[in-house]
């Protein structure tokens, strides 16, 4: 039952997200170099961290699916990757807006951080077409799990390699953080908790929705009602 405790989780998410944004605008000091545009940091960075962790979580669920053969793990993996893709769109858009404000360009192709995130995003954008391409549900789940594991292992590897890259224009906030004041750290951590809670809330919300749909399908079959196949490639 994924809907259990969803109300409390939703309220906690709202409190932390709203709190983080309020603290970011009214409590955190203004950056001397960037001015107001540094406020994007409280949205963009937590979103990127949570999206990447979500991709890795998708890989972990996929491992559990292959180990146990339990299709519920495949569904969990699918939803985690789906949520991370949505956050990934947010990361790319907010990052581009920040880049335009800071560098005068929407995108820089010679910046490893940007291009590597785009590669990860495009890699996972292939996940759903892969599912759509396979009709047999068992094979679909197995192949999707293999994809999620390989791609999930690629995410931290890719991140580590990019951090080691010499050329950099994109700020390494958590690496070059010696001069960051405590207020900025506080707001950043509140935003990170808020974004993590948002991911978990939406993940459970979507799991509950898919679970309900699956229960209806079972009921329809039991009653002998014609089941109309959905357009989604999501596991049922």
């Amino acid at each position: 039952m994924y809907g259990k405790g969803l109300r409390t989780l939703s309220i906690a998410t709202l409190v932390f997200i709203a709190g983080a944004f309020a603290l970011g605008f009214f409590y955190a000091p203004m950056d001397a170099d960037q001015g107001a545009m540094q406020k994007i940091f409280y949205l963009h960075v937590p979103m990127a961290i949570v999206a990447l962790c979500g991709f890795v979580a998708g890989g972990i669920f996929a491992i559990q699916h292959l180990r146990t053969g339990d299709r519920r793990h495949d569904l969990r993996s699918y939803v985690a990757i789906h949520m991370s893709l949505i956050l990934g769109i947010g990361v790319l858009l907010t990052g581009s807006i920040w880049a335009k404000a800071a560098w005068g360009h929407w995108w820089l192709w010679d910046e490893p951080m940007l291009v590597s995130f785009l590669i990860v995003f495009l890699l996972y954008a292939c996940y759903q077409p892969l599912r759509f391409a396979i009709e047999d549900p068992e094979r679909q789940a197995r192949y999707a799990s293999v994809f999620a594991i390989v791609a999930g292992a690629f995410v931290p590897l890719n991140f580590a390699v990019v951090r080691m890259a010499q050329e950099k224009t994109h700020p390494r906030v958590l690496q070059d953080s010696d001069n960051l004041p405590g207020e900025v750290w506080l707001v950043f951590f509140v935003a990170l908790i808020g974004m993590t809670l948002l991911f978990i809330t939406l993940w459970r919300f979507e799991m509950a929705a898919k679970n309900t749909r699956g229960q209806i399908r079972k009921l329809q079959r039991r009653l002998g009602v014609d089941v109309v196949a959905g357009r989604s490639a999501a596991p049922q």
Partner: protein, 54 residues
């Protein structure tokens, strides 16, 4: 490198745009989920009206 200066670059528009993107993304997600919920509701109503097998 934090201080309150009068000469900071005015990039409020970009900040508002970034936070709006986040809001719009969430709204689109909720609209899609609402459409799916209404489909589930329709299916449940249809199931309720279905005659049980003899």
């Amino acid at each position: 490198m934090i201080l309150g200066a009068d000469t900071l670059p005015d990039n409020g528009g970009y900040v508002a745009a970034a936070y709006l993107v986040f809001l719009v993304l969430l709204l689109v997600y909720f609209v899609i989920m609402a459409v799916r919920l209404s489909r589930v509701e329709r299916e449940l109503v249809a199931l309720n009206e279905e005659e049980p097998p003899a």
